[in-house]
Symmetry: C2
Subunit: 365 residues, 2 copies
DNA sequence: GTGATTGATGAGAGCGCTTGCTGACGGGCG
DNA sequence: CGCCCGTCAGCAAGCGCTCTCATCAATCAC
């Protein structure tokens, strides 16, 4: 690449080359650019008449400050980056979260940059190849780390003094982490409630289905186990991943349970898709839901078409996004001091897949 | 708001206040900042030795140019805005498109800003309240208009000399529009192919199901009608929206057709969800798919869990996004001259819901 | 009436970078 | 040897804005 050759010729000397800048406004209003700056930035110590004149000039010229110049001189930008880590695609859950982030940020004068990245949990922080968003100096002032994240990335961001906020549910950590600068939804609480609900309905043979090698599912599993123990019931779980596909995993798990004729009167499933799979397996074995078995799954208040009848532990994913946006903006305005965790509650939404236990159900098998 | 009081005191005179700028690099390498600039921008007319020294200094100081300063002085930014118009949420289809946009842009040094907006089709361009992304001067240099768009927004952007690229399939226009600066996927082609396929399988009573008051579904409908006519078959369609919910609309439409005992051997559905609804209705009427009726729907190559058996007209939505990203970047680098339309093909993916017609199927009803 | 205080304004420096221009240098050629 | 010209480094002018500081007017206390 060679330098561009001279082509500007006679640079516009005093005249403006077509664009409206703070100077044009100042000239038109007959004030200095400092005064214009004070008016557009809402300082109160400006004479009412001058203010009016400036405002008129702004309107007439349709002036809008150059964000690039503003960001440059203020040394900050109104951009927050939403970083989706280690996820193939933008799944419905994260779509809703992104939507919530955008919603909150847009309402508070910030913009959301969408970026993705992949990294291995094992890589040492210093050897981590950061995504371009994080490497680019001055692009975004705060990062929202969603998707599946690991300690090494957070360490790296700490080292580089990058401000960030994390979605804690999908954060995989070895040792417990101080719950700062993070948003979490209380899925464990929801799974406790769901378990209690099934017990109240009279169920005893309640199976948890889900791959507990994944931390987020393990949290749900542990909540289930605890409630079962509190009620002197034996947890009975199929926690090995029989498939990568959640639907298929739910189907295969329940199929296995029924094949070996283990007693089963309710299924608490780690996810919505796997609950659908569980229902498929029950159907295949001639057991009707909820008549012959109750099923509870998980969802995130996505608007589903007609048939969404699954009783679920439910979290408002858009709200999770809003909280992430809120925390990110607070981090920027709170001068970087750590913020305490925000928790979004979950609710057990009772739809059509649970029913009180009747002992003759056992006969069906 | 009052002006900030003086708090800087003795501004750092010649020393740098902690941050690494082009000056630090220049000093360390013993060259002028101009030379550093030329090196980091890849100009070739730099002496090899100086270049090496500069590169060394950059590495040692871990220097990264300040994007804010660069954007400011270059008067352009590496940010492209993905604007989702008139859509409640970020649905799976648009999530995939966004993903494709991000994919392409990230690979070409651009960043993607995610924004949403709502506007009425009827509003006159001059009265349109533009979303903040478009109003903010210097934020993004090009806008990708996805979601459902209308002429008034495009007119407004034209007037303001905003560069943009449109997803044409969801663009609602009165008069035909020159296909410039837009990406389109050929769903009409896919629906023609699907119709021909059903005819080849021997089906005659092929029903199109979908609300044709929506332009994108009407395009599919018209492709269907044309192929039917070419084959001297009578188009038979349920084009009135019986519900806002696609699933329910498909279900209700087919239910109505079957209720009045109209002959039906295949359903060509405007969307995937509505095809699921159609299958539900067939099931309710005791007709098994594909034994007693064939069904074709639509999808966008989303990875669905196990049971996705629907034969579909299919478009690679991620590719649509990539094309949008490509066109947007071309618009920026092609000095603003209009670019010709990009078309993403659709394919008929034959899964498990179609079978050759057997006349005794008619008996089932 | 005088000096001190307060308040509003304009002037201008400076943010970090790009880039046109100037001029030093050296090699080729007459 | 001198001249010309191509090459390449440094200088410095800006880009549009913010914000400090000096200035000046008006107000107030006594």
């Amino acid at each position: 690449m060679r330098r561009h050759s001279a082509n500007s010729g006679q640079a516009a000397t005093e005249t403006e080359n077509g664009r409206v800048t703070i100077k044009s406004v100042a000239r038109r209003a007959g004030v200095s650019i400092g005064t214009v700056s004070r008016v557009i930035n809402g300082f109160t110590d400006v004479n009412a008449e001058l203010r009016t004149r400036v405002e008129k000039a702004v309107r007439e010229l349709d002036y809008r400050p150059n964000l690039r110049a503003q960001s440059f001189v203020r040394d900050k930008s109104p951009i927050i980056s939403f970083l989706l880590s280690n996820r193939g695609g933008l799944n419905p859950f994260h779509s809703l979260i992104l939507q919530g982030v955008e919603d909150y940020c847009a309402n508070h004068g910030y913009f959301v940059l969408f970026a993705r990245c992949q990294y291995a949990p094992g890589t040492r922080p210093s050897e981590l190849r950061l995504p371009t968003v994080l490497l680019t100096n001055g692009l975004a002032d705060c990062v929202i780390a969603a998707g599946v994240n690991h300690e090494n990335l957070l360490k790296m961001m700490d080292q580089r003094d990058l401000r960030y906020v994390v979605l804690a549910n999908n954060l995989v950590t070895q040792e417990p982490r101080e719950p700062l600068n993070q948003v979490r939804f209380d899925d464990a609480g929801g799974y406790s409630e769901a378990t209690r609900y099934l017990i109240q309905l009279g169920h005893r043979d309640i199976w948890f289905v889900g791959d507990t090698s994944l931390q987020w599912f393990r949290n749900r599993y542990e909540a289930y186990v605890q409630v079962m123990h509190e009620n002197n019931l034996e947890p009975r779980a199929q926690t090995v991943a029989l498939s990568d596909d959640l639907f298929e995993n739910g189907r295969a798990s329940v199929d296995m349970i029924l094949e070996r004729e283990a007693p089963l009167s309710a299924v608490l499933s780690c996810a919505g898709e796997s609950a659908e799979g569980a229902m498929e397996a029950l159907r295949e074995h001639g057991r009707e839901v909820p008549r012959d078995a109750s099923v509870i799954g998980f969802d995130y208040m996505i608007v589903r078409s007609g048939l969404w009848k699954l009783t679920s532990v439910s979290v408002d994913a858009v709200e999770v996004g809003r909280q992430l946006g809120r925390l990110a903006i607070e981090r920027l305005t709170s001068n970087g001091k750590p913020l305490s965790e925000a928790v979004v509650p979950t609710t057990l939404i009772k739809r059509g897949t649970c029913r009180p236990f009747r002992s003759n159900e056992q006969m069906v098998l």
